[in-house]
Amino acid sequence: MNLRLDNLLKQVEKPARYIGGEYNIAIKEPESVKTRFVFAFPDLYEIGMSYMGLQILYHNLNKEEDIYCERAFAPAGDMEKLLRENHIPLYTLETKTPIKDVDFFGFTLQYEMSFTTILNMLELAQIPLLAKDRGEEYPIIIAGGPCAYNPEPLADFVDIFLIGDGEKSLPELMKKYGEAKERGLTKEEFYKEIAGETGIYIPAFYDVFYNEDGTIKAYEKNFEGAPDKVERCIIEDIEEIDFPTSPIVPIIETVHDRAVMETFRGCTRGCRFCQAGMIYRPVRERSKEKIMNLAMEQLANTGHEELSLLSLSTSDYSQFEPLAIELMQECKKRHVSLSLPSLRLDTFSFNVLEEIQGYKKSGLTFAPEAGTQRLRDVINKGITEKDIYDAVEQAIELGWKHIKLYFMIGLPTETYEDLDGIAEIARNIVSIHRNSGKGGRFNVTVSVSNFVPKAHTPFQWEAQDRTEEFTKKHDYLREKLSIKSVTFNYHDDAVSTYEAVFARGDRKLGKLLLEAHKQGCKLDSWSEYFDLEKWQKAIELSGTDIAFYTTRQRGFDEILPWDIVDSSVSKKFLMSEAKKAVEEKTTHDCRYGCVGCGINRRVECKLGGIYE
């Protein structure tokens, strides 16, 4: 045991975050592999270990004999202070190796507000932040995940972005690196060799030119082998790829402390605000047999007491009913509780919930997202008030006491009438309960988040509300929602503004990130860490005009920073959806017929995702 580390661990909260040694970790002789990779989740251990993508990539990398994948997370404030005071570089959990001594330091980009934490982790690892300052002796910094679909705000810091499904492409890239290292290639020679591969984006190979108004004039390649557009990696058949059946079992309690089984990838609903619904197309399912086998194997290998399904919309799985029935039976046998998130609330689902929750009913959740049918049509959220009220009636009849509603405010074309609609729905649900004659305690929670336009969605050109506008709308809603039995929650306004800056940011934001890091910004998705004053100072010192990124409506002809990434959904489709939104016209779920998003030019789309 490292004595200096041991001494530090005695002084911090939850020291088990920093010790590794969990069940099912990969144990290898570091000298015996060709490539060493560190998978970093730029947030605390409890958050990072709840992310299934980590387990999937960890497994797919470590099953290769020549690759060793270890893990690193952001330390909490107390541990960070001690690491800095004692000059201990950030280390891997598996072998306690300083990260600066490995080949690759890889970050998963799950949300924009983790970007400053990436810089902080690089600094704690004693690695220069800027790509151009890192010599051959430092690890290659690589990043992937949903936020890599607009990689530009991180272009100054990251050497390679890997866009799209990583299960095959990442291990392949690591193998190529191992060979390149044996051949004695420099980093740049290696980058040139891989630049043309699907999914690989190397920002250093592009120079960006701007117009006087700050918009982009052109991307020019400075290396001929780099692609004009980076196509994302797509695994056409997820049935074939390895899903971990022996995931790491954390020792301390994490946010999602359970076995997780991915049923399918992608979504056919086409909500216009949703990035996941666009960038994970087409819908790709695992067979029911495979799901059952993998899930049961995972339970046997972990001892987990809870199993949850992972997808963008649980009930959309083509064989959901037989799957749910079989899972219920098998879980019951094993004393394992089953959790089925985001169910569509029809009679079957109620029967399932009744069976798996019994008297321990958790809250029932609906996500109408908008308060009026008009606005729901704008965003293409195919849920009607009748759907909600019918389900609520049934739920109350079955004994549910808590209804949770999720809405977004600041959506394109929104007026105060739409906000009134939010209060109306909450009030109507309370009335349904009152009229049911059930009596007793009853609670409706209304959670409101602020709309953040995302890259690669039909709303990518839209203006976001100003921070003050969000605040005004929250105040308005708070008054409207001061109804007995209704609780109102909302997100921090300023955080949503900054999130929007980076969600559609360009390379110029590297300066802002660097300044924010210097001011001490980190772990910004935690309200106890997010410090508005520091951010405002960083904005000022970096000379950033945030309105340029947030409240500015973009034109269809503007070159967008993320145009360099091709999600394989056509820009033409996004534009047509954007136009239909303004006209309040809906687009049907593409399960019932192709709507022409363009994904099938690239890969076969099974529409409904029906497995045959």
Binding site: M1, N7, L9, K10, Q11, P15, A16, I19, G20, G21, E22, Y23, V249, I251, I252, E253, A300, N301, T302, G303, H304, E305, R334, H335, Y359
Partner: protein, 224 residues
């Protein structure tokens, strides 16, 4: 229903695993080994399994005790073998045996515990044998303890709960503490360590001191 006890050691980084995390760790281990634990009755059944005495975060231990009840009968040797195989590094299953004594729970009859405390100080720096004797010769030893409910620091006299302290041979100053333990009267080593540091005027900080629990004893003779 069959009752068993497992004796185990907790070493290295595992000392940073808390009491609740240890419970969950064993629960999952039994599940992986297909050893079905008996459950309590009622609305919220929980597995019949528990440690004889919780161990503070940061302490290593040589001889901890876990008691549990299974639905089916297993051979203790088989339990030791299968659970032992899947323990994380630092958790060592020493023995597994049947609990034949007729007691409701071991936790209720814990009486005494022994700890080995190592200070980062050369043992020959002073006559620590005499210091220990003088420390124990005090009529009252006043320590501060945070009250669980009010979170206020309160003064407590710990002398009567210290059964003995012995100097252990070694390069570094090492003490063996024998303290009250269990539900009747319980003394944590923490107050003993801090008051001893003050009394002996040792130039050390708490987080440089290593503590290991070496024994848990009961108020009666058991066949375990």
């Amino acid at each position: 229903m069959s009752k068993y006890i497992i004796k185990f050691a907790k070493e290295g980084y595992m000392k940073y695993t808390s009491h609740l995390d240890m419970l969950r760790l064993f629960q999952r281990a039994f599940k992986r080994c297909n050893i079905g634990l008996a459950h309590s009755q009622g609305f919220n059944p929980h597995p019949k399994m528990g440690f004889a005495q919780p161990l503070s975060l940061g302490y290593t231990a040589a001889d901890e005790i876990l008691e549990f009840e299974t639905v089916e009968d297993f051979l203790p040797a088989d339990i030791k073998e299968s659970v032992g195989k899947i323990m994380p590094q630092g958790l060592i299953i020493k023995t597994c045996s049947r609990l034949t004594d007729n007691v409701k729970s071991l936790a209720a009859i814990v009486d005494e515990a022994e700890y080995t405390v190592t200070f980062p100080i050369d043992a020959d720096l002073a006559d620590y044998g005499k210091v220990v004797k003088d420390y124990l010769a005090q009529e009252h030893i006043v320590a501060y303890k945070r009250q669980k409910k009010t979170k206020k620091m309160v003064e407590v006299d710990i002398r009567s709960k210290i059964r003995d302290i012995q100097l252990v041979d070694g390069a570094k100053l090492t003490l063996r503490l024998i303290l009250d333990c269990g539900s009747t009267s319980n003394q944590s080593p923490e107050q003993v360590i801090t008051t001893f540091i003050d009394f002996a005027k040792l130039d050390v900080v708490r987080y440089d001191v290593e503590v290991e629990r070496t024994r848990i004893s009961f108020d009666r003779k058991l066949h375990i």
